[in-house]
């Protein structure tokens, strides 16, 4: 899984994954409730032996109501911090200027909803890994069925569609190179690879975000969100596989893996804030703070489960997520 000259393990694509990893990827989609495996997780899977051992413990933690509730808190925090940044610097205004048609706007909004849901969960996941490195593992604990959320992506959630990296378009390739440099990663984050489906929008968004992300205010917001994530992660069980000793035993390139975990931990709060900033162009903060895809608890009454699977928000004026097409199963 290593290439010569690579700083980090090479991400394993969804279609590339075979055997146990293919099964784990299926579980990742079910447990995180998203239709695809984000690139950061694929990068962690670049150490397959370690990743498999991590997932055995981590998967059940991600499926708990506590993990989901903590992610919801991080989402609220991200939106609050991003609102403060909008007050200070004005909105990003990428969507308004990108010249998108109604279908494209609809799909873009659905993409932002997906990342707005997923980002805080990944932030918490990376914080958990980071804490494992610095403080070691904790007792795994036991979860009762009632502590679990209903698995599977909501049917109204957009597909996680990522423009291949490197892209064939040279302008987009330059944007991707810049993103890799900005985030200190060898892959382009899923958020940007997805928004690259609308290249003009991505270009305007990255320029608009730069105005904000290069400021001290943004750095303070990033730190605040990161610290909040570490606080919440500290209250969750930490897999043995996150400990340095285990990592050194199971990974073929432990040094690179540690660097990757650190880099992902640094990038995650930035990605949450960027998503919130972009989404605030479309949805007011009061609505954005709510989870776009609230999870039902296992054992809850059927209608609530069904609504959660469909991605129906409890908010009375929920943003128009999902397709206008009649959905099967309703």
């Amino acid at each position: 899984m290593f290439g010569w000259g690579r700083r980090f393990p090479r991400p394993v694509g969804e279609r590339e994954a075979t055997g146990d990893l293919e099964l784990i990827y299926h579980e990742v989609r079910q447990v995180l409730r998203v239709p695809g495996v984000s690139v950061c997780i694929r990068a962690l899977a670049g150490e397959p032996r370690w990743f498999a051992s991590l997932w055995t413990e981590l998967g059940p933690i991600l499926e708990t109501t506590s993990f989901e509730a903590s992610s919801d808190l991080l989402r609220i925090a991200s939106v609050e911090l991003a609102s403060g940044l909008v007050d200070a610097f004005g909105p990003v205004e990428a969507r308004a200027r990108a010249g998108l048609g109604p279908s494209q706007r609809h799909q873009l909004d659905a993409a932002l909803a997906l990342h707005h849901y997923l980002g805080p969960k990944l932030l918490l996941l990376h914080a958990t890994l980071r804490l494992g490195l610095s403080e070691g593992a904790t007792a795994p604990g036991r979860t009762a069925p009632g502590d679990r959320i209903v698995r599977g992506p909501p049917i109204s959630m957009a597909p996680l569609e990522l423009v291949p990296d490197p892209p064939s378009d040279p302008k987009l390739a330059r944007v991707f190179d810049e993103l890799r440099r900005t985030f200190g990663l060898e892959h382009v984050p899923s958020l940007h690879a997805h928004l690259a489906m609308w290249p003009r929008y991505l270009s305007l968004a990255t320029r608009g975000l730069e105005r904000v992300t290069l400021t001290t205010k943004f750095e303070h917001a990033r730190e605040a969100l990161h610290d909040h994530a570490l606080e919440l992660a500290a209250r969750l069980p930490r897999p043995l596989a996150t400990g340095r000793g285990h990592l050194r035993k199971m990974a073929s390139g432990p040094g690179r893996l540690v660097e990757l975990i650190s880099a992902l931990d640094r990038a995650a709060p930035v990605l949450c804030l960027e998503t919130s900033l972009l989404a605030l162009e479309v949805i007011p903060a009061s609505l954005l703070a709510a989870s776009p895809f609230p999870a039902a608890r296992v054992g809850e009454p059927r209608s609530r489960v069904h609504d959660a699977l469909a991605g129906v928000s409890g908010a009375p004026e929920a943003p128009p997520l999902g397709s206008p097409i009649r959905e099967l199963g309703r």
Binding site: E14, R15, P35, S103, I155, P159, E161, L162, M197
Partner: protein, 244 residues
């Protein structure tokens, strides 16, 4: 309304729609699950479902009177729509139509078959749509055109949706509707490439028999993408057949 086939999208109509748009309103939807339309994996993408959706869409747009041109599977959808909503459909143009049991072609079918996907490398599978498209031309298309025609299927999601859609679309629907074809009252023009490697030109003759009064235009030196191989003739024929 112009309906595309597989493995393409509304872009297949781009030279034609620019000309037609000078004289009339032109609608070019991407079929559900294809092109850049919704590609989530639980959607029903078969021919009947497409016709139903388009019927509702036209209703929502307030379009009561529409001429429909369909290429390949798009023609199959056009026929299903004409049967479903005869009052709404004024005229039909069918280009190298997916009809009877003449489709899907083996190469497309392979995209959706799990065993084939296990046995072929990812690279080989991802090249299949390009191989199919290039075989559909008599005059070699430019790389730019081929890229444009396949643009929505460049991502894993796009390719996955294409494969799912192809697996969902099969000849059961067109076989079932074939007995009702004589009921279609909309005046119909059938256009076919004489060198179409995917749909034998004899199908054009068979369709013309079933669609009473249909006109047929068989174009020599034209393949499956007849609207590119014989662009001028197709434009002329459509303009003359469809009232401005």
């Amino acid at each position: 309304m112009l309906l595309h086939g597989l493995p393409t999208w509304g872009y297949v109509w781009h030279p034609l729609m620019v000309l037609l748009a000078r004289e009339r309103r032109v609608l070019v939807p991407d079929l559900l699950g294809f092109g850049f339309s919704d590609r989530r994996d639980h959607l029903e993408c078969g021919i009947e479902a497409q016709a139903e959706l388009l019927d509702e869409w036209l209703g929502a747009l307030g379009v009561e009177d529409v001429d429909v041109a369909g290429h390949d599977v798009g023609a199959g959808v056009a026929l299903a729509l004409a049967l479903r909503s005869p009052r709404r459909i004024a005229r039909l143009v069918l280009l190298d139509a997916a009809c009877y049991d003449s489709w899907p072609i083996a190469a497309l079918w392979m995209l959706g078959h799990p065993r084939v996907r296990r046995e072929l490398s990812d690279a080989a599978v991802s090249r299949l749509p390009e191989v199919i498209v290039r075989r559909g031309f008599v005059r070699a298309p430019t790389n730019r055109l081929v890229e444009g025609l396949l643009a929505p299927y460049e991502t894993e999601v796009g390719m996955g949706s294409l494969a799912r859609g192809v697996a969902a679309m099969n000849a059961a629907s067109t076989r079932a509707t074939s007995r009702w074809l004589p009921e279609i009252s909309a005046p119909t023009l059938i256009v076919w490439g004489a060198k179409d490697q995917f749909r034998n030109p004899s199908l054009a003759r068979r369709l013309a028999l079933d669609l009473r009064g249909a006109k047929t235009l068989l174009l020599a030196k034209a393949g499956h993408f007849v609207m590119y191989d014989r662009f001028r003739e197709v434009v002329r024929a459509m303009r003359s057949f469809l009232p401005a």
